[in-house]
């Protein structure tokens, strides 16, 4: 009995040893392979689709966003036998061509895209059909909420959300987040169990531009209207802040909608403000004169003989649109004399002129954050003959980009200092914290501060009196600027007899520049001159942009009632002002009045006035007021300061009833 027990124990012991041995073998020798195999069976990897950051303007208004989308695909071999009856409904739901959907259904491939980046509504409709063999994966598509606004500079992305134009391309490395993976266990139903936790999602970066969509909208609207009314082929507008060289607007016509970039020809998608160059015409006379004054080759009060409108240079003849005799330097610019400019250039010399042009930034890239920037065309001075120097004096024979020209003028507005124009202000993380900031970058002092100031004064004369740019004048503001009219090269050689480029570049307010605005109208048909075609566009853009920015011009003269003021009448206000102007000297400090209460008969009474009327009344009489709230004045308090009395007005809230 004991022997049998021993044998059974030995057999069981051996069996147990074998099991233990196998256990040790599995857990120590092949453990990694086995662990991997086990993981493959119960762990599930899920790809988190890559996201793309937003592009916003300087005020945070979105210009490019990523929105949810789904990519639908078919596994044709898993389609039901009666799948053909679904072809028409699917094509209708996806707004896709019937032939394309039909081909997808009949494909011999195991996997076919049905529609990439379908909208959630489209995907929901397909799901509602419940067709086996059709499935979807979550993805994102790019959406440009502002439509055509600033489209050529924002650019667009391809179907895989990679930036292929504009800022989308230049800042792709910041905007595009790499796809990530999420690992978890899966249960018998294939559901995910995140038993190993969730890793933090990669950070999505957003890009803030210096662009202001308010100004951009004004520029695009006015340019489009000008191109339409003049029958021009196109146009561009550049708006720069001359203190920082931040780009506030880059507008162009024609343009496109980046939501549907394939709907237009590729040339309409090109960024013309930095990528295209043109012969700038008379706008160069200002830079030529600045160079001559800075190089001490010319004095501001020097007189130049303008040959009565006809000047022979070798076998060529230079003409002025109006004949002039002796003109001062200011008059050469003001009346845009080609002959005067030619003589200044001859006096300055080609080497010096070319050196200044290069210093102003022509013939090289500005470094703006846009793909495909052109350096322009600036031939080396040793290749220039006398006629080249003369034509270069009035901006023919070399080419610049609109952005280069605007930067050069911004340098004059900035006391002669050239800076790098820039479009990207900050790169932000998803919490809005700044990851990378771009600051204004000073490049060089092109001309002295005195020369720059002198040129600003000369340019102001262009919009005054007999100047060529009087249509750029803005009531209440001093405007410095220059008109330009240039001939267009003929593809067959030489210059076109008919086609012109009309331009105007202006700086406003001249005494404390806030904006540099360049308007270029390509081949207008209702006129050719910059002062006639482009200057009014400048005026419209500048006037609205200054109001938008809250830049105040000279205040309206006292006693002039703005047209909108409904009450009180001008006469009654004047009468009461005269009466109150005496009384204002003697109010009781800290006197306080509410609705229905009469003020001291000698005190001004603001009670019941609208905010607008109260402000206008105070402005006319030179009274100081402090307001709180909006709507109508319900309480006024007089406070004495060291110099004067201040009326503190408390108003009803906006939309409140008139007391």
């Amino acid at each position: 009995m004991e022997k049998r027990l021993l044998i059974a124990g030995a057999v069981l012991g051996c069996g147990l040893l074998l099991v233990l041995g196998r256990l040790v073998h599995l857990t120590t020798i092949h453990n990694e392979d086995l662990a991997r195999q086990a993981s493959q069976q119960h762990l599930k990897k899920m790809e988190i689709p890559s996201r793309r950051g937003a592009i916003v303007d300087r005020n945070g208004e979105p210009l490019a966003l990523s929105v949810p989308a789904e990519s639908l695909f078919i596994r044709p071999r898993k389609l039901p036998t009666d799948a053909n009856r679904w072809i028409v409904p699917v094509a209708t739901a996806l707004h896709a061509p019937l032939e394309q959907v039909s081909a997808s259904f009949r494909s011999a491939e195991p996997f076919v895209w049905l529609k990439r980046r379908a909208t959630p509504q489209e995907a929901a409709q397909i799901r509602a059909y419940g067709i086996g063999g059709i499935d979807s994966i979550e993805t994102e598509r790019r959406f440009y909420p502002q439509g055509t606004l600033a489209a050529p500079l924002i650019g667009f992305t391809d179907v895989d959300a990679r930036g292929i134009a504009g800022i989308e391309q230049t800042y792709d490395r910041y905007l595009r987040e790499e796809p990530a993976e999420l690992v978890g266990e899966r249960d018998a139903l294939g559901r995910m169990i995140l038993a190993h936790g969730v890793a933090a999602a990669p950070e999505v970066l957003n890009v803030r531009l210096t662009l202001d969509i308010g100004i951009q909208n004004i520029a695009e609207r006015e340019l489009a209207q000008a191109v339409r009314t003049t029958g021009a082929e196109g146009g561009t507008v550049v708006v720069l802040d001359p203190q920082t060289f931040a780009v506030l607007a880059l507008a162009q016509v024609p343009t496109f909608d980046p939501n549907t970039p394939a709907a237009v020809r590729p040339e309409h998608r090109r960024n013309r403000t930095a990528g295209d160059c043109y012969e700038p015409g008379s706008t160069m006379k200002v830079l030529l004169t600045a160079a001559a004054l800075d190089a001490k080759q010319l004095s501001p009060d020097e007189k130049i003989f303008c040959e009565y409108g006809r000047y022979a240079v070798g076998r060529s003849v230079i003409n002025d649109s109006h004949s002039h005799g002796w003109l001062s330097v200011t008059q050469v610019i003001q009346q845009s004399s080609n002959i005067g400019a030619a003589k200044i250039a001859e006096h300055l010399g080609k080497e010096t002129y070319a050196a200044y042009l290069r210093a102003f930034g022509f013939g090289r890239l500005t470094g703006i954050e846009l793909p495909g920037e052109s350096p322009g065309i600036l031939p080396l001075p040793h290749t220039w003959g006398r006629i080249h120097l003369v034509t270069a004096s009035f901006g023919q024979g070399f080419a610049v980009t609109p952005l280069q020209l605007a930067s050069a003028y911004a340098a004059l507005a900035n006391g002669g200092t050239l800076m790098r124009p820039y479009l990207i202000s900050e790169v932000l993380n998803s919490d809005g914290k700044v990851v990378e900031a771009r600051n204004p970058q000073r490049l060089l002092q092109v001309v002295s501060r005195d020369t720059a100031q002198l040129m600003m004064g000369i340019m102001e004369q262009v919009t005054e009196g007999e100047g060529t740019g009087t249509r750029a004048r803005i009531e209440g503001f001093r405007v410095a600027g220059k008109t330009g009219t240039s001939q267009k090269p003929d593809p067959r050689g030489g210059y076109s007899a008919r086609d012109r480029i009309a331009s105007f570049i202006g700086i406003v307010p001249a005494e404390q520049p806030r904006l540099v605005i360049l308007v270029v109208v390509d081949t207008p048909r209702t006129g050719v001159y910059g002062g006639q075609i482009a200057a009014p566009v400048f005026q419209a853009i500048a006037k609205q942009s200054l109001a938008y920015l809250g830049v105040e011009g000279e205040k309206p003269k006292l006693g002039v009632t703005p047209a909108i003021l409904p009450a009180p009448s001008t006469e009654s206000v004047r009468e009461s002002s005269l009466r109150q102007a005496v009384a204002v000297k003697t109010p009781e400090p800290q006197s306080e009045y509410g609705p229905g209460e009469e003020t001291d008969s000698d005190e001004p009474n603001f009670i019941g006035m609208s905010l607008r009327d109260a402000v206008l009344t105070a402005q006319r009489n030179g009274w100081q007021i402090v307001t709180q709230g909006s709507g109508y004045v319900k309480k006024q308090t007089v406070r004495r300061t060291a110099e004067t009395f201040v009326y503190e007005l408390t108003l009803t809230s906006l939309g409140g009833d008139q007391p």
Partner: protein
């Protein structure tokens, strides 16, 4: 006495072992339950995020300057003021 003590020890050890094993199972069940919760929460966050993106898109499309200007002109009869009509509040 010695035999009784040994069995007591063995019993205690077995009890501890059983408790640990049950504890392990309980913890594992909790991990799975939390894993499900985490998965559901992640799904909820994801769907809310997508909804937020959609709403942001709609909001930004409706508040573009072009859209607002058109609405202001058409529905309210507004227009951009001339500079001289602008009054600045001190």
């Amino acid at each position: 006495m010695f035999r009784f003590a040994s069995w007591t020890w063995y019993g205690a050890l077995a009890l501890v072992g059983l408790t640990l094993a049950l504890g392990q199972v309980w913890i594992r069940l909790q991990v799975v339950a939390v894993g499900y919760q985490l998965s559901n929460t992640r799904q909820l966050i994801h769907s809310l995020e997508r909804e937020r993106q959609t709403l942001r898109m709609q909001w930004s499309a409706l508040t573009t300057p072009i859209q607002l200007a058109a609405q202001a002109e058409r529905r309210l009869g507004m227009s951009a003021p001339e500079p001289e009509r602008v009054v600045r509040v001190p």
